[in-house]
Subunit: 204 residues, 2 copies
DNA sequence: TGCTAAATTAGGACATTGTCCTAATTTGTT
DNA sequence: AACAAATTAGGACAATGTCCTAATTTAGCA
C-alpha cells in the first residue's frame, strides 16, 4: 500500500473514531510513524485530505446508486448498501454541514452531486411506478416532496443516530431508517408495493 | 441590559452569523468593547456560554410546544413558530451533532429533552385523532414512525436548508419544511384533516 | 459619606492547532 | 552512478481556548 493510500485509509479510521476536527495533523503523522512534513507532501492542507475522502465516498455512492431499483424491495436494498457506505465514511456525514459551509468549493461541488442524486431518485421512483410498485395516481403531485423526504433521511440519519440512538447496533439503526424510508413510500404503494414494504420489515 | 445579557445576545448574533467555532473569545470581547477576562468572569469557558444559549432555546421551545394542537392547522402553526425559534438559534442547530458529541453532559441533558419532545408529539397526535383530523385506524401502527419522522425533520431542516437551499428566503424555506410535515401526516389524515393540510399549503 | 464586594481592565502565559518553511537525508528508478 | 521522488528533522507563525495575577473602577449598602 502506497504512503498516500496509508494516509487516506488511516485518516479515515481516525476521523471516524474521533471526529475530523479532533484528529490533528501531528497526531495522524505520529500514528503512521511519519513526520508532518511528509503528510503535507501529499496533502498540502487538512482540507485537501478531507476532500480526497469526500471524493471517495461520492464515487462509492455513485456506483451504489446505479443498481437496479425496479421494485421497492430492490430500492430498499440499494439504500441499505448506501447507508453502509455512509457509515464507512461517517465522519463526513457528521461534519457535513461544517464542511460545506466552510469552503465554497465544497458547496459548489456538492450542489452538482446533490442534483444528480435527486435526479437518480426521481428515476428510481419512475421505475417503481412502471413496475407497478408505486401508484402513479397516488404519488402524482407528491414526487418532489417524497424526493425531499428521502434526501433528508439519507443525509441525516447518521447524525440523528449519533445523538439519539448511540447505544443501538449498526444493524438496528440501519433497519430503523430503512423502515422510515418504507414509511415514506407506503402511502403511495400499490398492493404489491405495500406487500414488499411489509416483507422487507419482517425480513429483518 | 446587564453585561451578562449583552454577552449572551451578542454572542448569539455573532454565532448565528459566522458559526460558533468561528467566533473567538477575543473577537466576542472586542466586539463588545470589553476584555476577555470579563467574558470569562461570566462564562468560564466558551462551552458554558454555549450551554446558556442552549438552555434558552430549550425553554423557548418548551413554551411553544405547549400550544393547542387539536387540529392539523394549529399543529402546523405551532411548528411554524418552532421553526422560527430554531432559526433564531440556528447556530445551535447547525453545530448540534458536534455539541452533543463533544461533551457527555450535553448528551445526557438532551436525552431527557428529546424524550419529552417525543412524548409531547405523541400527545399532539392523540389530540388530532380525537378531533377527527387523523384517522385512528390508519395511523394505528405508524405512530412511532411518524414521530421519528417529524423529529428528524424538525432537527435537521436548518442544516439541510443551509446546504441545499441557501438562496431561499426564510419564509420559503419554512414553508417547504412545513409542507414536508404536512406530507407526513397527509396519508393518515381524515377527509377533514386532508382539507386542513391542503388549506395550509395554499395559505402560503 | 465611606466601606466593601462585584465588576472590569490590562496584559500576559500556556498548550494546541493548521500551515509553512528550509535543509539534509534516504529511497527508488533509469 | 545519477537524479528525482520521498522522507526526515526541526523549527516558525498566527490563531485558538483557557488560565492567571494585579490593579482599577463601579455599584450597593450601612
Amino acid at each position: 500500500m502506497s504512503t498516500k493510500e496509508k494516509l487516506v485509509s488511516r485518516a479515515l479510521e481516525l476521523f471516524n473514531e474521533n471526529g475530523i476536527e479532533y484528529v490533528g495533523m501531528r497526531e495522524l503523522a505520529a500514528d503512521l510513524k511519519m513526520r508532518v512534513g511528509n503528510v503535507t507532501y501529499y496533502f498540502a492542507t487538512k482540507d485537501d485530505l478531507v476532500i480526497e475522502i469526500i471524493n471517495r465516498l461520492r464515487d462509492l455512492n455513485s456506483k451504489t446508486i446505479e443498481a437496479d431499483c425496479s421494485s421497492i424491495t430492490s430500492f430498499l436494498s440499494m439504500y441499505r448498501q448506501l447507508f453502509n457506505n455512509q457509515y464507512q465514511y461517517r465522519c463526513l456525514l457528521l461534519s457535513f454541514v461544517h464542511l460545506v459551509s466552510r469552503h465554497p468549493s465544497f458547496a459548489g461541488n456538492y450542489a452538482a452531486t446533490d442534483a444528480r442524486r435527486r435526479e437518480a431518485l426521481r428515476s428510481h421512483i419512475t421505475s417503481m411506478i412502471k413496475n407497478n410498485c408505486l401508484s402513479t395516481s397516488l404519488i402524482a403531485d407528491h414526487v418532489e416532496l417524497v424526493v425531499s423526504h428521502i434526501t433528508l433521511i439519507s443525509r441525516f440519519w447518521i447524525s440523528e443516530a449519533r445523538i439519539s440512538y448511540a447505544n443501538w447496533t449498526l444493524e438496528q439503526t440501519i433497519a430503523h431508517y430503512l423502515n422510515l424510508l418504507g414509511e415514506v413510500l407506503f402511502p403511495y404503494a400499490t398492493v404489491e408495493g405495500k406487500k414488499q414494504v411489509d416483507d422487507f420489515r419482517k425480513g429483518k
